[in-house]
Amino acid sequence: MRGTLPYALAVWLFAVGLYGVVTSRNFVHMIMCLSIVQAATYVLILQVGYVRGATAPIFFDVPVGTPAVDPVVQSLVLTDVVVGVVVGALLLSLALQAHKRTGTLDPNDLRTLVG
């Protein structure tokens, strides 16, 4: 049980963020909740890479061979965090564009497309 409870944090963040996206009445609120869903994935894969009693995979001041956590998952997450914020900026500018066209930031008020 103790071995899987940390993973439940990622599931909790995912579910909470998804609830926020579904019940949101403001685009900016929705995009922030989307970033919480992203954070859930970061937390999960970093936790998978964790090794109890190990240090960070930087061998500047510790000799090579000391137990260290997984460096591969960290590399995936760190590029993703930076790229995620710029993609979030793209989403926010799309929300601004929608506000310019329809005058509202409420997703429920978007008019349906007329074909």
């Binding site: 940390p6 995979p57 710029v86 993609v87 793209l90 500018s93």
Partner: protein, 250 residues
């Protein structure tokens, strides 16, 4: 479909999703146990092979360099998208003097905020440059240092000095810097193929472990990625700041 129905559907689906996720996550190895074999191999051999003590940087720019190349282009495309969308939304303000007087009623920046933010810009820049330059030794690298450096324009904006910088028209320099970063990364990556080794091969001399110029192509990649991330995030922030300017011209 009314919001209540949508919420009901989400609750039903969400409970199922959470149940499946918890069941799946329960099958993972215990938190803090087994390490993957790839990780063990990297932790024992990466320092010797690449002469870089930051194994995460070595993985980002060397062992898994293709992923970083892809992420680099995602960043580039997202910045292009933001500038495209927001530059077309800069409206010409055609205000009457009464409206402009109303706009002028925004509060002035307090002295404490101004002094504090201006005093922090130098240290933030120094820290960012340090983090970029020492990415192959200690925690850091192009991505991390780049975002630290990109916090400086925000500090300028908070200090109320944004218009001074704006008159210098930094947009062109930033566009150039971002293109150089992305293009330079690609060029160095392909240079490995040109000289006969594999694409993204680490072909520069590795140098001594724990010196600043160790790791072969790693410092070069750090600088290029740092350049691109700084320019990209600063461009995005500038576009957002332009949107909120009160144009007090006459």
């Amino acid at each position: 479909m009314s919001p209540r129905v949508r919420l009901g559907m989400f609750v039903v689906g969400g409970i199922g999703l959470v149940a499946i996720l918890l069941w799946g996550v329960g099958g993972l190895p215990r938190f803090g146990s087994a390490e993957s074999r790839y990780a063990t191999y990297l932790n024992t051999h990466a320092v010797h092979q690449r002469h870089a003590t930051n194994v995460v940087s070595a993985v980002v720019f060397d062992y898994r360099g293709f992923d970083t190349l892809g992420e680099e282009f995602i960043l580039f495309a997202a910045v292009m998208g933001v500038t495209l969308l927001l530059r077309s939304q800069r409206e010409e303000h055609d205000d009457s003097p009464r409206d402009r007087a109303e706009a002028r009623r925004t509060a002035d920046t307090s002295d404490a905020v101004r002094v504090g933010t201006l005093a922090l810009i130098g240290p933030v820049w120094l820290l960012g440059l340090y983090v970029v330059a020492h990415g192959q030794l200690t925690p850091g690298g192009g991505f991390q240092g780049g975002v630290v450096l990109a916090a400086a324009p925000l500090l300028l904006f908070l200090a109320g000095r944004y218009l001074l910088v704006r008159n210098v028209h930094p947009m062109h320099a930033l566009d150039l810097a971002e293109g150089t970063g992305a293009g330079g990364f690609t060029v160095i990556a392909l240079l490995g193929a040109v000289i006969g080794a594999a694409v993204m091969a680490n072909f520069i001399g590795k140098g001594q472990v724990a010196s600043v110029f160790s790791g072969g192509t790693l410092p070069v990649f750090n600088l290029l990625v740092g350049l691109e991330v700084v320019a990209g995030v600063t461009l995005v922030l500038y576009e957002f700041m332009e949107q909120t300017l009160f144009v007090r011209g006459d």
